[in-house]
Amino acid sequence: MRSLILPGLLCSLFAAPLAFAEPLRVAFMHENPVGQGGWTLSHELARERLQTHFGDQISTRMLDGIAPGGDAERVLTKLARDGNAMIFATSYGFMNSALRVARRFPRTTFEHAAGYNTARNLGTYQIRAFQGRFLAGYAAGKLSRSGRIGYVGSFPIPEVVRGINGFTLGVRAANPEAIVDVIWITTWSDAGRSREATQLLVSQGADVITHHTETAAAIQTADQLGVWSVGYQTDRSAFAPEHHLVSVAHNWFPIYRYKVQAVLDENWQPTQEWAGVEADATQLVSWGKRVPEELINEVAALREELLGGRAVFAGPIADNEGAERIAQGSVASDEELLAMEWLVEGVNGSRPD
């Protein structure tokens, strides 16, 4: 008797889901190779967690090294034609390609990171990394003895400028006299250039270094030169065994989980999703072993303030040429943040373009 029932039971248990739950196909498309680390790697780590989280419900795939422009549009079209129900395009350069392809494939859901255009089936998402930057900046401002902090920038695009400004506001909250020196190296991935910029910043007097590049070369050089470093995008502590201060890591997983769940539940909307400390989308990870405990607690308290509604870009804020940009009592809107191209007071570096 038992031998008869059990197989039957098993069949009925498995047959139903198999019959109707074809896994949701989700594709990710990146501009840079995962092998360059940084931004793309942070997305890839989130994809792995996403696949584990949803298990059989979804099947994910990833493409990297896709050049924006004509190639990106071809790949997006191919992904849509192949029956991927949801496509994440993770570079700002994919925006107009995504917009065009989304128009041609109305039944596919598109998501674009860091952009500003939405459509009926195209949403956007971004991390408020400037919040994490602000917290790390505060720690850097407290630890810096010289009051000069070095920042290795790549290209002067709004995302990078926002990070510099958030960081500098944090630094100045801890030490109103401190200065952030910025050097632009006009490359995302040339580790050699990062190293050279870091060396110059340190010899100009910086005793904390941070970076907005794909590689960890700035962190590594800072460690060799014996100064603190703040890693960015992923946990960079392995590159600075002695002098790592903290890393500001991107955590895309909560955003991806939310967006994919919405498609599974069939209530997805083309929203502009910006997630920050409240979703743990920007996190401070791997505090250095020599960072004082009280400082870590202070930063934790500051994070609570952000959770409680304190804004990073709350007026009055002036740019580094003396003009007031955000008035007393007002807070920068998301729209202003998205288009940010001025540098706040305390940044030593020319207007980027």
Binding site: Q36, T186, L200, L201, Q204, T215, F239, N348
Partner: protein, 307 residues
């Protein structure tokens, strides 16, 4: 700008020069014998990834440097096989080598992204390093830095003052005549192709195990191409090549320094500076004495052995 800052700047430039200098030296070795190998970028990447893998797994920097050079040599041998035995076109073969090297290095290095090694410390004792100004500029570098310098100067001596060097030049200038004089044209080119690429591989190794030290895809960022250009600028001489590499490094670091001085030129325009200066230098050099700056006459041409 104070003196200490200038000393730091010079020290940084010297270290930045090493990968370029090694590659430039390698290219000079090959090109003086008539071997035109445009595959430098791919060879440098392969040298970098293999050296990094060996350094991470064995912990030995000597072994890693040798691995970088050996991989370079192997790619040089592949180039020689194609161009000398199969008589393929040198330009196309070099480009194929770049494509292949870029792909294979990315494939091999996939598991090594995010790994970290400590890098080499300074070689010389503390007392020398702390000599004011001179110390940080000249005595604060690692063992491989000095080894690379010695190697390049050695090549300079052999190529420009020794009999072997004259033989190489003879093969590069006119292989038919060299053959008639009894010089082993093909064997010479095999050797220069392999040794030259070993230098390039070592340059990649320096980049990955000492200079940065990490591995990322495409980390040479065009240094192979720039080395090829600098060799022309240097008139196919190692000493001028080293100077050109230093000058190029100095100008590209200067553009970072200028930013710190509050110069308000847009950064992307500033980034053209090294290339524009390089063009200007070439115009000045080329307009002068012409005869000494001609390329080896058989450069890049297929050599067909007479029977």
């Amino acid at each position: 700008m104070d003196l200490i800052f200038i000393a730091d700047l010079l020290a940084a430039t010297l270290a930045a020069t090493v990968p370029l200098a090694l590659c430039v030296t390698g290219v000079v070795i090959g090109e003086r014998s008539g071997v035109l190998n445009l595959g430098q970028e791919g060879i440098m990447l392969m040298g970098a990834v293999c050296a990094f893998m060996v350094a991470l797994n064995s912990g030995s920097y000597l072994l890693a440097s040798l691995a970088g050079a050996a991989v370079g040599a192997a790619m040089g041998a592949a180039f020689a096989l194609l161009t000398l035995v199969f008589q393929s076109n040198a330009v196309a073969t070099g480009l194929a080598l770049t494509i292949f090297g870029t792909g294979l290095s990315a494939f091999l290095g996939e598991a090594y992204v995010g790994e970290s090694i400590s890098g080499l410390g300074p070689l010389l004792p503390e007392a020398l390093r702390t000599v004011p100004l001179l110390g940080p500029v000249f005595f604060g570098h690692d063992a491989l830095f000095y080894a690379a310098l010695v190697l390049c100067l050695l090549v300079h001596r052999v190529l420009h003052t020794q009999r072997v060097g004259l033989m190489v030049s003879a093969v590069g200038e006119n292989p038919e005549t060299a053959h008639r004089l009894g010089l082993p044209v093909l064997r010479t080119r095999w050797l220069t192709a392999i040794i030259g690429c070993a230098f390039t591989g070592l340059g990649g190794a320096y980049l990955a195990i000492v200079y940065t030290p990490l591995w990322t895809e495409g980390m040479t960022a065009g240094r192979g191409w720039i080395a090829l250009a600098l060799v022309v600028l240097a008139g196919w001489r190692v000493s001028w090549g080293l100077l050109a590499a230093f000058g190029f490094g100095f100008i590209s670091i200067s553009n970072l320094v200028l930013q710190g001085l509050g110069v308000t030129i847009p950064v992307n325009l500033l980034a053209t500076l090294p290339f524009v200066m390089c063009l200007l230098a070439l115009v000045i050099v080329s307009s002068g004495r012409r005869s000494e700056r001609e390329p080896p006459r058989s450069l890049g041409q297929t050599y067909i052995k007479e029977n």
